[in-house]
Amino acid sequence: MNIDIDINFSDNLEASVDEDDEIQLTPAEAIALMEEAWINEKFAPEILPHKLELVECLLGQISYMEDNLRSLNSTDFKKIIHQLEVDRLRFLISSYLRTRLEKIETYVMPILDEENERIQQGVELYLTKQELKFAKDFAEDLQHHFDNITTTRLPREEWNQECVKPNIHSFVFLKSKEEVEGIVIDDGNDEDGDLVDLNRGSQMIISYKSVANLVKNGDVHLI
């Protein structure tokens, strides 16, 4: 069920920096990482681990650039170019955060359940503290609204808990950054999946579930 479009062309822009390590990033590298995170978030059906440090670092960068811009004369041509650059950066970050918020709103119940599980297991959380608060408040508001309709006039039914879940078997386009061997293709059927190997730089259409871990640890990125 997967189509291997084996196009190997070099990509100089790829910055495979592990964010867990404290590595000094140049602004250009940070922006490249942010773009990758944004695109991954846009195409992945479920919510991905947050990139709070990256976002905060870039927000700091934006306010620094804006301070510099203020000292420039408003008729200066350079100012317009720089301002546009700042605006682009700001769009990138807002769009990334908006995409996450949309996912949180749509899949609020499953996301909260998974997050609670992660808290209990003590593993790394996917939502930032602020996002978690937003998700909880949103869920509460929604429940409150539904209660207003149902419980005042109808006893609460058990089956009103059927909620929207992300389709983690949906297909995604990806490009590999590393050599990965033996990915089990899991397209939601119970049959034994075939194995597939990824070459560095190869592109593929595959069901998201099979590569979810690779997307999260950054071995592949979605396109």
């Binding site: 976002v55 905060e56 927000l59 700091g60 306010s63 408003s74 317009i80 301002q83 546009l84 605006d87 682009r88 700001r90 769009f91 970050i93 807002s94 769009s95 955060l97 908006r98 918020l101 709103e105 602020q130 996002e131 608060k133 937003f134 408040d137 949103f138 508001d141 929604l142 409150h144 609204h145 539904f146 207003n148 309709i149 149902t150 006039r153 109808l154 039914e157 089956w159 009103n160 059927e162």
Partner: protein, 196 residues
């Protein structure tokens, strides 16, 4: 027929895609009453079949099952109706900001208005909490292409102060060449029209 009213409710909503039709209190109440009625009948029949050991008790089973399915469907439709209205309201929060136009507000139920203000508060709290000073996510909705854009003013808006402190007068049908970031909100409010 069971569930016909609930179906009408859903149809009504799906017909009007972008606009929010008035909250149909009458039909919602009717669906709730129907559901209640079905439940009461079911409880009664369940009681009878429990007390009755003869064949008459089990013969009620199919009836009970059908009613149960109808109840389930009604509840599902009710939730779908309310949930999709909420989704629509949510989109409006992003478009119009925290204050709703009066004509939309008149179409909402009391509970929906309450939900809207709660959602606004939650969202605003979230936006304030990002970074050091907070980020307004409701601007920069489209990728910026150019720094300045040309807009036409559609209404007599009056004076408008730009970020650099200069004040311009916005009159109907006047054209302006302004920074995109500052126009965006007025475009969404329908004061400006973007001219390509």
């Amino acid at each position: 027929m069971f569930c016909e009213k609930a179906y009408t409710l859903i149809k009504e909503l799906s017909r009007s895609e972008d606009t929010l039709p008035p909250y149909n209190t009458e039909l919602v109440t009717a669906v709730i009453n129907e559901t209640k009625h079905l439940r009461d009948q079911n409880e009664e029949d369940a009681h009878t079949s429990n007390n009755d050991d003869s064949n008459a008790g089990t013969s009620l089973l199919p009836t009970v099952r059908i009613r149960h399915a109808a109840v389930k469907r009604n509840v599902r439709c009710l939730l779908a109706y309310h949930y999709n209205r909420i989704r629509c309201l949510r989109t409006m929060r992003w478009e119009f900001g925290s204050i709703l136009p009066a004509d939309i507000k008149s179409n909402l139920s009391a509970s929906e208005i309450e939900w809207f203000s709660r959602y606004s508060r939650t969202l605003a709290a979230y936006m304030r909490s990002i970074g050091e000073e907070g980020v307004n996510l409701a601007v920069d909705l489209r990728p910026p292409k150019a720094m300045y854009i040309e807009v036409r003013c559609l209404t007599d808006y009056g004076k408008f102060e730009l970020n650099d402190g200069s004040v311009i007068l916005l009159k109907k049908d006047s054209r302006h060449y302004l920074p995109r970031a500052e126009c965006e909100e007025l475009i969404r409010q329908g004061v400006f029209q973007h001219i390509d």
